[in-house]
Point group: C2
Chain length 418, copies 2
């Protein structure tokens, strides 16, 4: 097989370990000098391909590439940009193939969630039709853990660890002070459509008395009265109540609670955030002093407390994607396969992009306790190994040292894309 170039792009919301996948891609590609020429990375994801802004990773030192393994966020830039269907958007697909052709790119590795796998799949088909077949391999990534087939998504384990550690720590804080101060603490976490992240926070409580006492899932319609009763019960029993709320929790009308637009104690409109809304509700109805936190990007960028398992898996799917391409596979994605044994083990399997694209994996109902406020043993068995192990970045002067890339763009060969 002749030598060709490889294009790698990061897509959608970034994670603490997506760069570990990038590291796996580039380091593995460098082991095939006879078959892979330049590894290009899209500047700001697929937008970089459309604009012919191709970062030449060959200009980065082995040390800089190795540092990606412990660097959070998207080192080459990512984007929220979903290509429309080919019929609606012929121009963009044609442009991609044109850019790939101009730079002799015959391998396209797309690191993202369901939308991205869909795009990669389409390009695989389309490039054949256009007489310039491109091997398209997906690299799974999403903190939301909502891709099908793969047992879990790289990126999820680290955010899971962050939220579990954070609520354990903040819970101890509230427990210390609850006699005379804050009695209710609300921590908002990500997960617009599925409660995977909120559920993982449940790992922090090893018994009913330990925080979090209540988890509010997008999968469970918010029941105000039942919730307030449970809060009161917890404060009565434990002296305080630590709550984890998913940003995606919905009311009986099917709308996000955060969109309901309530007002605070002073009649000011709430400026978004379901945590302050829940906290205020508790204050209004039960009178407890509260505090709330919204972790937002801190949770998905928290490389300092990444799960070692997650880092290894993120690297492994990057490496496997290149190996799949070298093995002549196409339109597939490495998937994480959980072993059957009692002790956790995992290996890399294979999923067809067509089966991954645009399918959202929900959390099984069996993961949520019958009262709707916590996780079951089945959920614990699933979540626990994913946060296993610590993988600390290196520090200098007290601060984590993250990769600083040169990001040199390859020379353009085509007219500007309008």
């Amino acid at each position: 097989m002749s030598k060709a170039n490889l294009f790698y792009a990061q897509s959608g919301g970034v994670t603490a370990v997506i760069n570990a996948s990038a590291c796996g891609v580039v380091e593995t590609a460098r082991r095939y000098p006879d078959r892979i020429g330049t590894v290009f990375a899209g500047r700001n994801g697929i937008v970089g391909a459309l604009r012919e802004e191709l970062i030449d990773t060959g200009k980065e030192s082995a040390e800089a590439i190795a540092a990606l393994r412990h660097t959070p966020a998207g080192a080459f830039g990512s984007c929220r940009y979903k290509l429309k269907s080919y019929r609606e958007n012929t121009r963009e697909y044609d442009r991609l193939v044109e850019v790939f052709r101009a730079h002799d790119i015959r391998y396209f590795l797309y690191n993202g969630g369901g939308d991205s796998q869909d795009t990669a799949n389409k390009i695989a088909q389309l490039s054949v039709e256009q007489g310039f077949p491109i091997t398209c391999i997906g690299v799974p990534k999403t903190v939301d853990n909502d891709l099908p087939i793969t047992d879990n998504c790289p990126g999820f384990g680290s955010v899971a660890k962050y939220v579990a550690v954070s609520i354990r720590e903040a819970g101890l804080d509230v427990a210390s002070m609850c006699e005379s101060s804050t009695k209710v603490f609300v921590m908002e976490v990500m997960g617009r459509h599925a409660g995977w992240i909120a559920g993982a926070a449940g790992l922090a409580s090893e018994s009913g008395s330990e925080p979090p006492h209540i988890i509010l899932f997008p999968e469970v319609t918010f029941d105000r009265e039942k919730f307030l009763n449970r809060v009161k019960e917890c404060v009565g029993e434990y002296g305080y109540c630590a709550i984890v709320v998913s940003e995606g929790v919905k009311g009986p009308d099917g709308r996000f609670l955060s969109e309901a637009g309530g007002t605070d104690a002073f009649g000011h409109a709430q400026l978004g955030g379901v945590a302050p809304m829940i906290a205020d509700m508790v204050k209004q109805e039960l009178g407890y002093k509260y505090h709330w936190a919204v972790a937002d990007y801190l949770q998905r960028a928290a490389r300092h407390i990444a799960s070692a398992t997650d880092v290894e898996q993120a690297y492994a799917v990057g490496r496997a994607a290149v190996e799949f391409a070298m093995a002549g596979k196409n339109a597939v994605m490495p998937a994480i396969v959980r072993g059957d044994g009692e002790e956790y083990s995992w290996s890399i399997g294979e999923a067809a992009l067509a089966d991954v694209a645009n399918v959202e994996k929900k959390m099984p109902p069996s993961y949520i306790t019958s009262d709707g406020f916590h996780i079951t043993e089945a959920a614990r068995a699933y979540f626990a190994p994913l946060i296993h192990g610590e993988d600390y970045p290196t520090y200098r002067d007290g601060m984590p040292q993250y990769a600083r890339l040169k990001r040199v763009l390859a020379e353009k060969k085509l007219p500007r894309f309008q």
Copy 2:
């Protein structure tokens, strides 16, 4: 000198390392078996003394006490409870001395901020008047870093490290996505009256292009127009803008930009929610897509990313407090003294409680850049050593293992305090 018991209490908002001070107190006291009998800890702070709820730390194993060194929050419980002046509140002071007398407590170590040092100082005086002299030693603690004399307060270095690491990580996230998504990120941090914590976040930016780009201090009156111009400038120059805002930032009318409602036991307004307000302002005026985070308790409980320097100093002030008592000192507090050399060094000095009580140390104006939006080199030189070093807790199954104490109460000897 005859043998007597010791009473230790945690006071006010807890920190990631106040238990390291407790560890220093108990471990050191155990080295004086001829002079110190039982080390009691107040259940929920000074309230435990009033209620005669005295935790007998002698029932805790050496391992459990050692684990306090890496356990966040207040293991014995803390409280927000300020004794009024003796004239207003004779009963409570009398009760304290009565409880101390009943349990032969002649050493009182109070681990807290300025209010607590004031209380300790009063008890030192009063107990003499009442014919039962009690040696009162303060143990400094506050994330706010606002105690005078001591170069810094144990608890501050760890929250400083947390906010600097968090904004570096979240900043990388925003930088990755800003081309097509979020352009402005706002992180709210603690610091009601002084910008120490917000300022420490500035350590994350080693050059002007690195986050945070803007810091909003309580010391600088918020100027809406100037702020919005600076945001626009950052987005123009760097593609995005990462902002750290102190909860205590005030408008031209002298009021906090945001008040969550209510006041605490000390009459301080309960704050929270300036981040969404600032973010919304940016959206309204400049139209940028935004995200915001409120770290709240996560920042002060984050033992998982504690500063090793902070942990050592917290332990050292606990140890020194016992040694001061053994040396016959009274109404003093160990203070951290910074060495003069070019390389950072510190030692334990001594401050009179009378000089510490109720004095709030502000951040020097020379620490804030002339535009009011960042920290100076002088500030960096002050902050940098305080976040130095990592001191990770031990993990089991991916979760940090924090001390679980028995908290056995000593038998009561007095009638209930009404």
